[in-house]
């Protein structure tokens, strides 16, 4: 192999055509429908908006690269959430709900109206309570009650049997309710 052959191979590699199974228009439409719930999940389960931004890009990148065949829109969405769930597990194994998620809201209840202060306090309570849950419990509760996912959808996203979701969800819910109750008590 001569040096010019080596150069030529490099140019071939550079000119490789990038193709995903999904075309750009279909992707744009799918992204517009799903990005907000995915970002909300990433943001609230990691407690870090910047990390959520990065993981959002990574989620869609992996989704595009995987190029799986999906029976319908719901199947595609579940697969997307499964990628997001796995990314959170991989990148952020330790619970980080000890920090408040970044928001545009002021952080100091004293400078807020009564309702706003109460809402901010509730958010702090929720963040702290969520931090004390297991990652799987957080995922499950978020998918069930924030996203409104069915047991089957949660099972697909988390890689769990649908039959076990009901009892797991019940236990997680009870735990979170108890933690929220602790906070409410003086």
């Amino acid at each position: 192999m001569t040096l010019s052959d080596v150069d030529e191979l490099g140019q071939v590699a550079d000119a490789l055509d990038v193709t995903f199974q999904m075309d750009e228009d279909a992707f744009r439409s799918f992204y517009d429908r799903t990005a907000r719930p995915v970002w909300a999940y990433l943001s609230r389960t990691t407690g870090d908006n910047r990390l959520a931004d990065d993981l959002l890009q990574e989620t869609y990148y992996r989704f595009l690269r995987a190029g799986g065949s999906y029976s319908d829109e719901a199947h595609r969405r579940h697969y997307l959430f499964r990628i997001a769930v796995n990314l959170v597990r991989d990148h952020y194994r330790r619970p980080r709900f000890d920090r408040l998620p970044d928001t545009d809201e002021p952080r100091h209840p004293t400078s807020q109206s009564g309702d706003e202060a109460a809402r901010a306090a509730e958010r702090i309570d929720l963040s702290r309570a969520m931090a004390r849950l297991k990652p799987r419990e957080r995922d499950m509760l978020w998918l069930a009650y924030a996203q409104g996912s069915s047991h089957e959808e949660i099972g697909v996203a988390l890689g769990l049997k649908t039959a076990s979701i009901k009892s797991l969800l019940f236990r997680a819910r009870r735990r979170l309710a108890a933690l929220l109750g602790e906070r409410e008590r003086p």
Binding site: V12, A13, R28, R44, L64, Y145, A146, G148
Partner: protein, 172 residues
Amino acid sequence: MNTTCDREEDVLEAIMTGQWPPAPGNNVGLFEHVDGCPICGELATVAMALRSERDLAYRDAHLPTSGQVWWRASMRTRAEAAATAARPITVLQGLAGACAAGVSVALVTWAWPSIERPLAGAGDILSREAQRLGVAAVSAAALEQALLSIAVVVGAGLILTPLVLYLVLSDE
């Protein structure tokens, strides 16, 4: 322990559709039920908290456009494809370097007698000339050693310079 309630679905639906807590006079039966049912009470507490957190998250989200996400994914895929394609080239370059070094060592070993003789002769001549000219006595062996070092450096330079030049220029 009872873990389910028949009215869970109704409570969840009311929360998910934004009808919870109910307006005065609406859904009174369900409201009273939730008040007295620990299972539905927990459900309402948790679901309401998470649902409002979701609404805030939706409001906070500053998402990149779909075009940006597509473009970044395309660029990254292209870069990874180029890196994958270049991997065998890098391996070949390493192999070529190792082969060149091996061949050089073999050549030097094979040609050693024919290098050593002229060097020894040159050393003798230079030593005699130095003595004749009255320069401080220089041994033939030391001169031979010096000439040998020069020969090795020149040889290594001849072999390695093209390789180094290629590697430096190919990075650019």
